[in-house]
């Protein structure tokens, strides 16, 4: 039986995350449809959805899976898309003090952008570990359930939509919508533009290696832009 402070934390976490969680619905629908338009069966699609549980990594690697790219390239691309989680994980780590290793692993598996943004301040501020665990797990499990249910709806909706509607374009739009808020920061925009240009120029490289090189070029360009931007400000 969960303690009363766990339940109090869970109620508060759920309440503060609920309005934001509506934003997950189009993502889950689009991801469900994109998996089917890549050629996965419904069982494979839902298997991917449960095992991976990461919209950006799923949408980003589907084109590579579709063309039969080598496994290591798919994994490295997913890793690049997920590197932000190392930063989130480092930022929220103190919020898990006093909580055992199995629950930490499970909490880590459930970490998403939305829950991180919503929860991390109170996770660090509150003392009671039971309260913190409830406060984190309630919105996380709610996200998980929404993600699976609406992806499943997307999986079945995709089958009844004609192919010439080009539903796979929804995945492109989804990736762009993720990129737009990032690109509001100047160095981030430089990183994206450099990486995009490099990906075009290097598209002839074997094994789609150009993708990895382009990501490295983008990171370096963003880092350099941040440096110059900072210098220009202080000068």
């Amino acid at each position: 039986m969960p303690s009363s402070s766990f339940r109090a934390g869970a109620r508060e976490g759920f309440r503060s995350f609920l309005p934001m969680s509506v934003g997950l619905i189009p993502w889950a629908l689009v991801t469900g449809m994109a998996m089917i338009s890549t050629g996965l069966t419904p069982v494979q699609a839902m298997g991917m959805n449960v095992i991976v549980f990461a919209g950006t990594a799923q949408l980003g690697t589907l084109p590579l899976i579709g063309i039969g790219a080598p496994l290591w390239l798919i994994a490295v691309t997913a890793l690049a898309l997920n590197l932000r989680f190392i930063i989130f994980s480092a930022a929220i780590a103190q919020g898990f003090r006093g909580i055992g290793a199995p629950l930490r692993w499970y909490s880590g598996h459930l970490l998403t952008d939305g829950v991180f943004a919503c929860c991390f301040e109170k996770m660090l501020a509150v003392d009671d570990p039971h309260w913190r665990l409830g406060y984190y797990l309630a919105p996380s499990l709610w996200s998980w359930a929404l993600w699976q249910v609406f992806a499943l709806i997307g999986v079945f909706a995709a089958g009844s939509i004609p192919k010439h509607w080009s539903l796979e374009f929804m995945a492109t739009i989804a990736l762009l919508v993720l990129l737009v808020p990032l690109a509001r920061l100047r160095p981030m925009l430089v990183a994206a533009l450099s990486s995009g240009a490099a990906a075009i120029l290097l598209r002839g490289m074997p094994l789609r290696l150009g993708l990895i090189v382009a990501i490295v070029v983008g990171i370096a360009a963003g880092f350099a832009a941040e440096h110059w931007h900072g210098k220009a400000k202080t000068a």
Binding site: L71, A80, I86, L175, L176, A214
Partner: protein
């Protein structure tokens, strides 16, 4: 290895490539700190990776650089919708409508 087995292996690798970064510091706790230079460089990885996937997808048509195509029109509409509106559905509706509209008009 069969195509089916390869696909499931791919999912497991993707799962690891997601859960390991997410769980990293939550599991390690306060024992390890990431150097700030590394943290700052890592911030650019998602934007770089997203752009490296999306840009060729939109601007390259069967191997050739061909920026003026219906997808670009759809992308412009979707990005405009994402900037101007907070409605999460609008970029998808605008992007798909423009893509299919331009295709229908150009007879492609």
């Amino acid at each position: 290895m069969s195509a089916e087995a390869t696909l499931w292996l791919t999912f497991v690798l993707l799962g690891l490539a997601t859960t390991l970064p997410r769980a990293s510091f939550i599991v390690l706790g306060g024992r390890v700190r990431l150097p700030s230079v590394v943290q700052r460089a890592l911030r650019y990885a998602p934007a770089a990776a997203l752009a490296a996937i999306v840009v060729p997808d939109v601007l390259v048509v069967s191997g050739d650089f061909a920026p003026l195509n219906p997808k670009l029109a759809g992308v412009i509409a979707a990005v405009a919708a994402a900037i101007l509106s907070r409605n999460p559905w609008l970029p998808f509706i605008a992007g798909m409508a423009v893509l299919l509209g331009v295709r229908a008009l150009s007879g492609a």
